[in-house]
Each structure stands twice: as structure tokens, then as C-alpha cells.
């Protein structure tokens, strides 16, 4: 597997300009002859579909939900970063670039991250023009807030529903192109296989969720915008249908998978309350702007929070990190919460929670101001927990939230399979080993609105492609593979559920294995244990899972089983990747790699690279390749938030 990053030459600030100038173009009149498939309609997929269609390409877009507006980008709460410097507080493109690359703990490509910061400003303009109702100051200008580890106010927001508003903006642009018949929209379709012709991505096979019918679709390029793989852990803040299947199918066809062990564990989620729990709910970390994190100083203190006097509370983030306080980056906040709970100072019925207290902010600014900022989050919290944050502190605990790893892509966002592109969370490109708050929305829209249109033109303009349609033998062959896989999943279930277990039973088992051994902190012993225990779970799945119903109907158990089958295979490269990276980095503490103060210790001499996994076939060990990272503009420093 050859990993050519294709980063353009020239000074950092000129690379994107230079690249666009040297890129091949497709004449506007010729664009309609090219067909693009976009899988997924989150921020990246919807914005890419709309933009490519506006440019004149023939676009077919697919989503698994009943409407493109449902994609999980919709649930992002806090905001979107841009280097506008509207607040005149020292922000710049370079600072946003620097913060993002530093936040990612120097495990991403300089050129990609700089480009992201460059186009960030265009995104805000585009969204405003679409009618996205961003928060405004009284004078009518756009409002900003400071967010997750940034010392400038560069986050644009629409209450606590920024993802929703940005997605509805992209969805509206997509809807306009559907109306114009430039995009053919396929809802309730799940991508089951990628089709290659002569080593190049030329189409996909989808399953109609309502009828179970398999269909082949051919194209000149295939763009995956299928999100992250956080649901490998069963419990995460991801939507229930979020899955790794499309990316995993591409991986098995030859696409390198980069840094699969880089998973972000978000510090401010509502704690787990029971074994029936189906997902975790994120409370936007913007709450940490005004909330103070604390635990009782005395382990095992079960008094109500109000009865614990000030001097018996440990505001551990403020004490340990005086300059950042409650606003330390996500991984630092998560790890410290776990540390406090491990030390027996956790609160609530499970003792797996810490307090996030608004009492002081309410005293300082008044209830009305706090409610204006966080009203909908407080309401959401109260709905779930039956407790009002105005009256008593919230309880929070870390949860799996975002996956920085993903399909390896070059500067053009193309995977190691020619013609297959990956955008948004589904690629690995911009966040290194940790993503900063309000940067996911930025990346999804940067990729979709402003990058992919240029790089696809370059690919199509420079690559001779034969005409291929679904009559090509590769398509029926891929359909057959999918049919066989479905038959294999269902075979087990002949003869009823006697002695069998459900899909969720096994998914929970996998989730626990990953959370325990491949979560916030890892060590060699635990990871090796996980690698040894994984095959038994896989075997249990294939031997004992019971799936009611057939493949030729709406069958939600079968859908979940298919996704779990892929998570079970994928988990292996997650664990192997974590095992191979013997450094602490970004989101994760590797127990063996710590400073004397028990902070994460990065090892630039040995691990300043992107780890890229290549599939070698059933029951064969995957191969690890490395893309070395070079830093010409920034000097990797050990992060310190003290």
C-alpha cells in the first residue's frame, strides 16, 4: 500500500491556492457526463451533494434514514469554529490552524489543517447566506463564544442546536438540487458493498431498508460521508444507526484505515443509569464555560451536594490547571473525571459521575442569563434525569463521542482506492489524536462545500475512465457477496431462538470489552487481553445470534446484526492500533507512557506518524503502514494546560 499524501509544494499559506491552480478542471458543459455517488447526508455528505450538483455533476445521494435531514450531524450542540476574528481578540487563520494541530497533539498533517482553517471563514458566510439563524449581538452582528480549550472567542452558534441549523442549511441546499433533478436522492438505503472495476471505485450495492431489495449503482467517483465508528462501544453519544459498515467495506476492498484507536471520549455526558441503557447523551461542553467541576474531597461522601460545604469540595480542574481551569481540552477533562471516580470520589448512585455546578454563575449573572445560554440543555438534562441544574449541580461522566480515526485520505481527500473519497468524520484527516470542540462541524462543511468539488474535478480531469454501468460483472458479483453475507447472518436463526442470544447482547459485550481495555487509558496487558477475548465474542455472534424474520422485508434486527458483524471485525484493528501505539497521545493515556506528574507523555521519536492498516484477507493479520508526519511550520510541544 502506497501512502502518498500529495501535499502541494510551497509555503503553508499558499499550498491550497497553488494546488487549486495546478489542479485539472472539468469544463462546466462536461460535468453532467460525470456521475458521483455520495453516501451519507450529514454535514459533509449533504454539503458535498449540493455543491457538486450546483457545479453540474450528476449526483446520486444515499442515506439510511427516512430523510436526509436526520443524519447525526443534527445532534451537534455547541457550535462551529471560524477564524473570523470578529471579536478582535487576536484570532487568525494561523491561530486556528495552530490550535487545531496542537489540540490534535501533533498527529495530523499541517497542510490539511491549515486548509481547514483557511476555508473556515467561507463556511460562516455560506451558512448565513442560506438563512442559518446564528446567534446575534444586539447590534445585529454575529455572536461568538469561547469553546473547549480555546483562548479566543471564535465559535459561532445557534442556541444549543448549531448542528441542527447547519445541517438544515445543507439539507435545504440539497433539497434545492433534488428539486432541480441534479441530485437523485435515495432514502432508507444502506450501502452494503463498494464495487471496484480495475482497482478503481465505480459504484456501490445498497439494500433497501423497507423491501430488503439489493440494487447496484455505478458512478465515476464514490464519496463516503458515513460518519464515525463510536458505536463500536455500544454506548456512545452517536445515533443508533451510526455504523462503520461503509468504511469497513471499503477497507476490505483495499482502502487503508488510519488511526482507528483515536477515539474521543467526551467529558460532559449524562452518566449511565442502567443495563437497559441504549445510548448516552452529551451535554454540550459549552456548559464548562460557566459550570464548575467538582467532587467531594472525602472519598465515599454520599451527602447531597448542597450539604457539602465549600471547603470540603475539590474543584480539581481549577486547582490542577489554573490557567485553563474548567475549560481544559476534552481528553484532560475526561481523564481527570475518571481519575477522581477511580479514587472513590465519584458521585451519584453509580459513583461514576462528577458534579458540574452552576450555582456561582447563577449568583454572578442571574438565572435569566444562564437560562438564555443553556436553557435547552438544562431542559434536556432535567427530562432525562428528573433533576433541575438550577437547583442542584448536574452530574456528568465521560462517554465515547467522536472518532478521529477513519479512512486514510491524501490531501485530495481520496482514499488508497482511486476514485473513492472520504469526507467528514469518516476520514482521519484533520483532528490528529484529539478533536477540539466546535471543529467537527467546521471539518464536515469544509470538506463538503469547499474542498471536495476542487479535488474531484482534479481527479476526473486527470484520470481516463472507461464507461462502466451496472451490467459490468463486478456488480452482480458484489450483489452476490452481499446476498451470501445476509444468508449467513440469517442461517443461524432457523429453528427458532432456543439457546440463542440477541444482537444487542453481543454488541453490549463487545462494547464493554472496548471500554474496559481500549478506552480513555490503555495498557499493553489490557489490550492483549482484549485481542485474545475478541475472537470468542465473534464466534458467539456467528454461532448463537438469533435474528427473527427474513432478508426480504423491513427487518431492523437484521440491519443491526449486519452492522455489528462489521464492528466485530473492525474492533480488531482498533485494538491492534492501540497496542502498536506505545505512547500517550491526544485523547488517550497509555499507562506505560506518563510524565512524573502522571500526565500523558507523547513520544515523537517513535510515533510521529499516521498508522494505516491494510486488510490482508479473512483471518489474516492486517499490515501496519506508516505515513510519517513532518512539521515544517510548528514545533511539536508537549501539551501543558497548567
Amino acid at each position: 500500500m502506497e501512502l502518498k499524501s500529495n501535499v502541494p509544494a510551497g509555503p503553508l499559506a499558499d499550498k491550497w491556492d497553488n494546488h487549486r491552480f495546478s489542479s485539472k478542471l472539468v469544463n462546466p458543459a462536461n460535468r453532467r457526463k460525470y456521475k458521483a455517488i455520495v453516501v451519507g447526508t450529514g454535514l459533509a455528505g449533504a454539503s458535498a451533494s449540493a455543491t457538486l450538483a450546483e457545479q453540474g455533476y450528476d449526483v446520486s445521494t444515499f442515506c439510511i434514514q427516512d430523510s436526509p435531514r436526520r443524519a447525526h450531524s443534527i445532534a451537534a450542540q455547541g457550535g462551529i469554529n471560524a477564524a473570523k476574528n470578529y471579536q478582535n481578540d487576536g484570532d487568525s487563520i494561523y491561530r486556528l490552524f495552530y490550535d487545531t494541530i496542537k489540540g490534535g497533539d501533533f498527529r495530523s498533517r499541517e497542510a490539511n489543517v491549515y486548509r481547514l482553517a483557511q476555508v473556515s471563514n467561507n463556511i460562516i458566510d455560506q451558512c448565513v447566506a442560506q438563512g442559518v439563524p446564528f446567534a446575534r449581538e444586539y447590534g445585529g452582528t454575529l455572536a461568538n463564544r469561547s469553546f473547549g480549550g480555546a483562548q479566543v472567542s471564535r465559535t459561532f452558534y445557534a442556541r444549543g442546536q448549531t448542528g441542527q441549523q447547519l445541517l438544515l442549511g445543507a439539507y435545504s441546499a440539497l433539497s434545492r438540487q433534488i428539486k432541480a433533478a441534479k441530485v437523485t436522492m435515495h432514502t432508507r438505503q444502506e450501502m452494503m458493498e463498494l464495487v471496484l472495476v480495475d482497482g478503481t471505485a465505480r459504484g456501490i450495492v445498497t439494500r433497501d431498508i423497507i423491501s430488503g431489495k439489493l440494487t447496484s449503482h455505478s458512478a465515476d467517483v464514490v464519496i463516503l460521508a458515513t460518519g464515525g465508528y463510536g458505536n463500536a462501544y455500544f454506548l456512545s453519544t452517536n445515533a443508533m444507526a451510526s455504523n462503520v459498515t461503509a468504511a469497513w467495506r471499503a477497507h476490505k476492498k483495499g482502502a487503508g484505515f488510519a488511526n482507528p484507536c483515536f477515539v474521543q471520549i467526551h467529558p460532559t455526558c449524562i452518566p449511565v443509569h442502567g443495563s437497559y441503557q441504549s445510548k448516552l447523551t452529551l451535554m454540550s461542553e459549552s456548559l464548562r464555560n460557566d459550570g464548575r467541576v467538582w467532587v467531594p474531597k472525602k472519598p465515599g461522601d454520599t451527602r447531597k451536594p448542597a450539604s457539602i460545604p465549600e471547603e470540603e469540595r475539590d474543584y480539581y480542574l481549577e486547582n490542577k490547571y489554573p490557567s485553563f481551569g474548567n475549560l481544559v481540552p476534552r481528553d484532560v477533562a475526561s481523564r481527570n473525571a475518571k481519575e477522581q471516580c477511580d479514587a472513590g470520589k465519584g458521585v451519584g448512585s453509580t459513583q461514576l459521575a462528577v458534579y458540574l455546578d452552576f450555582a456561582e454563575a447563577i449568583r454572578r449573572d442571574g438565572e435569566a442569563t444562564i437560562l438564555k445560554k443553556y436553557g435547552n440543555l438544562f431542559q434536556m438534562y432535567e427530562k432525562i434525569t428528573d433533576s433541575n441544574p438550577l437547583d442542584e449541580p448536574m452530574m456528568i461522566y465521560p462517554a465515547v463521542h467522536y472518532t478521529m480515526g477513519g479512512l486514510w485520505v491524501d490531501y485530495n481527500l481520496m482514499t488508497t482506492i482511486p476514485g473513492l473519497f472520504a469526507i467528514g468524520e469518516c476520514n482521519f484527516s484533520d483532528h490528529g489524536a484529539n478533536r477540539l470542540g466546535a471543529s467537527a462541524l467546521m471539518q464536515g462543511l469544509a470538506d463538503g462545500y469547499f474542498i471536495i468539488g476542487n479535488t474531484i474535478a482534479n481527479y476526473l480531469g486527470s484520470t481516463p475512465l472507461d464507461a462502466v454501468d451496472t451490467e459490468h460483472p463486478q456488480f452482480p458479483q458484489a450483489e452476490k457477496q452481499v446476498q451470501d453475507r445476509i444468508a449467513k447472518l440469517l442461517k443461524n436463526s432457523e429453528g427458532g431462538p432456543e439457546g440463542k442470544i440477541t444482537v444487542d447482547d453481543i454488541h453490549k459485550e463487545l462494547g464493554l470489552l472496548l471500554w474496559d481495555h481500549c478506552g480513555m487509558s490503555r495498557d499493553k496487558e489490557g489490550l492483549e487481553k482484549a485481542l485474545t477475548e475478541l475472537p470468542a465474542i465473534q464466534e458467539k455472534f456467528w454461532k448463537h445470534v438469533y435474528i427473527p424474520g427474513s432478508g426480504e422485508e423491513l427487518n431492523q434486527s437484521l440491519e443491526r446484526a449486519g452492522r455489528l458483524a462489521d464492528f466485530l471485525e473492525f474492533a480488531e484493528i482498533m485494538i491492534r492500533d492501540a497496542l502498536a501505539r506505545e505512547e500517550s497521545c491526544g485523547c488517550h493515556l497509555r499507562e506505560e507512557s506518563q510524565t512524573e506528574e502522571n500526565e500523558a507523555k507523547r513520544d515523537d521519536n517513535n510515533y510521529s506518524h499516521v498508522a494505516v492498516w491494510e486488510y490482508q484477507g479473512e483471518s489474516k493479520e492486517p499490515t501496519l503502514h506508516k505515513e510519517e508526519l513532518s512539521f515544517e511550520n510548528v514545533t511539536p510541544s508537549q501539551r501543558s494546560y497548567k
Binding site: 449540493a50 450546483e54 434514514q65 427516512d66 430523510s67 435531514r69 436526520r70 447525526h72 443534527i74 445532534a75 473570523k84 467561507n122 460562516i124 458566510d125 455560506q126 451558512c127 448565513v128 447566506a129 442560506q130 438563512g131 439563524p133 446575534r136 449581538e137 444586539y138 447590534g139 445585529g140 455572536a143 448542528g163 441549523q165 438544515l168 439539507y171 435545504s172 441546499a173 433539497s175 434545492r176 428539486k179 423497507i210 445515533a239 443508533m240 443509569h273 437497559y276 441503557q277 441504549s278 445510548k279 447523551t281 448512585s349 427530562k383 432525562i384 434525569t385 428528573d386 433533576s387 469547499f450 468539488g453 440477541t502 438469533y546 427473527p548 422485508e553 423491513l554 431492523q556 434486527s557
Partner: protein, 252 residues
């Protein structure tokens, strides 16, 4: 907060596919934690049914945070159940009592054919947006975000309308099967903002026409839509839509 366990009797609409005729089936559930969400309660039912070799109940859901708009069912006659401004996924079992019978049906409406059990086809709502629920601006070339100041009160009002999650509860609750709250919210959002002005008239005409074409009914001021809306969208948006439509059609 106190956690209890409750026992429930469920009467759920079961329908094999869009062509089949459906019927209610009765199920019982014991020891349901009051901290569970309504959908987690249905998960428990489905796990039980699966273990018994019976067909689980199909229902739409995704984010389970009350924002994607995918979930929804009518519970004891109320879309999304008894709690105000709450989607089904955010409705918790603490709002029910042990021994309660819950009648659970899909969002029924002429324009929402039932696909299976509690799953309906709400694509008609997408087609209303496709008719004109956008600002026609291509990617690139947008003016600076601060070029046009928008009073914060206007932005807030637009945001109130833009909060719609497109779940369709308004349609399911309307005796006329109207989609006016949904359509009105989008028309209202864009007519408030400067960016929506150039296409204001065309938008109102096109979206109202699409709404009628999809088989949605008319508003007779029952206010059922507003009462069940999980995002508290006000029926003032319907008045705004009517005004926009009249202005567009009469004044041209």
C-alpha cells in the same frame, strides 16, 4: 429523583407492510425502570419478543436526543405521549404508573402511509421543503457573514421557527391532516431573515402548493399541532404563512 419499577400493559399497532391491514396486539411488561426512556422500554419489549421467537415491533428512531425527528408514535391518543414539548425518545417512564395501559399507534395521516408497525413514510414533508424551503444560493460567493446586520430579536424569532425537527407530530394530531405548522415554520424563518427576502413570494406560493398536492389538509384552528409540537413551535407561524401566501397570490 427516585427510581421505581412499574408494570405495563401495551396495545401496539402491528402491521406487516404497507399493503397489509393492521391490528392492535397486547403485550405485558414487568419491572420497567422509571428512569428508562419510552424507546428503551420498547427495546426491552423487543428483546423479550425476540427471545420468544416473535417478531419485534418496528419503530423509527435514531439520535434519541430529541433532535433528529425520526422517532414518534401516538401514545394514548397523543403524538409523542403526554409530556409537553417532548419527543418520544425523551419521554421517560417516570411519567407513567404501574398498571397503566398504553395504546401505541403510528403517526396516522393521509399523507403518511404506514410502512410497518409504527413506521410511516413522511417523505411528503421533504417534498414541501424541496418546493422552496431554501435560499437559492450556490456554494461560494456569499458575502461576509456580518455584511447584513440582523437584529438579535429577529434572529431569535427565526431560530424559534427553525427549531422544527420535521417529525410530523403536527400532521398526525391535526383532525384535517394539515402540515401547516411544519410549512409555516420554514416560511416564517426565511421571511424573517434578510437572506430570505428575494424569493419570499415564490417560496410561499410553491410551498403551499406542494403542501396541497401532497394531500395535506387545511387549518381550522384546532391548535392540536401546537399542543403536541415537541419543539413548541407556535401557530403564529401558520398566521405568518397565510399572510405570506395571500400577499404573494393577491399582490403578486
Amino acid at each position: 429523583m427516585t427510581t421505581k419499577s412499574i408494570d405495563l400493559s401495551l396495545e401496539i399497532w402491528r402491521q406487516k407492510d404497507s399493503k397489509a391491514t393492521g391490528d392492535f396486539e397486547t403485550y405485558t411488561l414487568q419491572n420497567i425502570s422509571t428512569d428508562m426512556s419510552f424507546l428503551e422500554m420498547l427495546d426491552v419489549l423487543n428483546e423479550n419478543l425476540t427471545r420468544e421467537g416473535r417478531d419485534p415491533v418496528a419503530f423509527d428512531h435514531d439520535c434519541r436526543e430529541g433532535i433528529c425527528g425520526m422517532c414518534g408514535a401516538v401514545v394514548n391518543g397523543i403524538a409523542h405521549g403526554p409530556e409537553p414539548e417532548t419527543t418520544l425518545c425523551q419521554l421517560h417512564m417516570r411519567h407513567f404508573n404501574s398498571g397503566d395501559t398504553l395504546v401505541i399507534e403510528p403517526f396516522r395521516s393521509r399523507a403518511f402511509p404506514i410502512m410497518k408497525d409504527l413506521i410511516t413514510d413522511r417523505s411528503a414533508l421533504d417534498r414541501i421543503i424541496q418546493a422552496g424551503g431554501y435560499v437559492s444560493v450556490n456554494t461560494g460567493g456569499a458575502p461576509d457573514g456580518n455584511a447584513i446586520p440582523i437584529p438579535s430579536t429577529t434572529a431569535e424569532l427565526a431560530m424559534d421557527a427553525a427549531s422544527c425537527i420535521g417529525c410530523g407530530a403536527c400532521v398526525a394530531s391535526c383532525p384535517n391532516g394539515a402540515a401547516m405548522l411544519f410549512t409555516g415554520a420554514k416560511i416564517s424563518q426565511l421571511s424573517l431573515l434578510s437572506q430570505g427576502q428575494p424569493e419570499r413570494k415564490e417560496r410561499a406560493m410553491a410551498m403551499v402548493t406542494a403542501m396541497d398536492k401532497e394531500g395535506f389538509g387545511n387549518c381550522t384552528n384546532e391548535r392540536e399541532c401546537e399542543a403536541v409540537c415537541p419543539k413548541g413551535i407556535s401557530i403564529r407561524n401558520i398566521a405568518i404563512m397565510n399572510r405570506e401566501y395571500v400577499k404573494a397570490s393577491v399582490l403578486g
